[in-house]
């Protein structure tokens, strides 16, 4: 049976590991592809404020708490999935980026874990509202680039 407490996704990128690392951990570069405006520094323990620029979610503010920063290998944070302001004591999920060198490029693996916690309920609810938008966007992406797992 599929594991319902975590998500793992990966993508191969034709770029050197140092370059990929910069795109993920440089606040300005991260902001562009993650579709946010991030204010702060990606340093362990830092709480970074993010404002979404994603079409349909513009202006929504959320925070991430940086966990580990291990240059060119691992970058991780904790957050409350979903857009609304979560209750103080709500558990967070952990998002980890792992970078490994592969022939001709870099593999980026994202693991998000902790979904057995209650916070998924909010995220699931948030996604209910956005389902149509996401499906449309993903269909467009699927047609453009084959999904790489």
């Amino acid at each position: 049976m599929a594991d319902l407490s975590r998500i793992e996704r990966s993508v191969f990128i034709r770029a050197p590991r140092a370059r990929v690392w910069r795109a993920i951990t440089n606040v300005a570069e991260f902001s562009a592809w993650f579709r946010v405006v991030a204010e702060g520094e990606f340093a362990p323990g830092a709480r970074v404020r993010m404002t979404s620029t994603h079409p349909g979610c513009e202006g929504i503010v959320f925070f991430i708490e940086i966990a580990d920063v291990e240059p060119e290998r691992t970058f991780s944070w904790r957050w409350h999935p979903g857009a609304q302001q979560p209750p103080e004591d709500e558990p967070q999920t952990l998002v980890e980026f792992h970078l490994t060198e592969e022939d001709g490029g870099t593999r980026v693996t994202v693991i998000e874990s902790g979904f057995e916690q209650i916070s998924l309920a909010r995220r699931a609810a948030a996604f209910e509202d956005n389902t149509k938008g996401w499906e449309f966007q993903l269909n467009a992406l699927d047609g453009y680039v084959g999904r790489e797992v």
């Binding site: 996704r9 990128i13 795109a23 592809w33 998924l120 995220r123 996401w134 993903l138």
Partner: protein
């Protein structure tokens, strides 16, 4: 909807309950005695877990003769998987944007 999803994932966030769900997913409805077999848990402990799963509508009990048999509610399990799939799709989209950004500029 919100609290129902909360109950669903809270119910699945326990190893014993997840194991019960996996066993029931194998197909046939099972009695409590069968579910206790092969575990170190008491009948009372298993009963408690079954009630949590029933509360989240992941399983349902049906009386058969003198025994109560438990079976999986596959629709509810599919809902849980769909919610997670949507989040996974979001990561796919982000990783593709990262890939496109890097491969087009460098």
């Amino acid at each position: 909807m919100k609290s129902s999803a909360a109950a669903l994932f809270a119910a699945l966030g326990d190893e014993t309950r997840l194991r019960i769900v996996v066993r029931l997913a194998e197909g046939a409805p099972l009695s409590i005695s069968r579910l206790v077999d092969g575990t170190t848990l008491t009948r009372q402990a298993i009963t408690k877990h079954l009630h949590v799963l029933e509360g989240a509508r992941l399983i349902r009990g049906a009386r058969q003769g003198r025994e109560r048999l438990w079976e999986l509610n596959p629709r509810r399990l599919a809902e849980a998987r769909r919610a997670l799939d949507r989040i996974a799709n979001e990561w796919d989209a982000r990783l593709l944007r990262l890939k496109e950004t890097l491969e087009e500029k460098d």
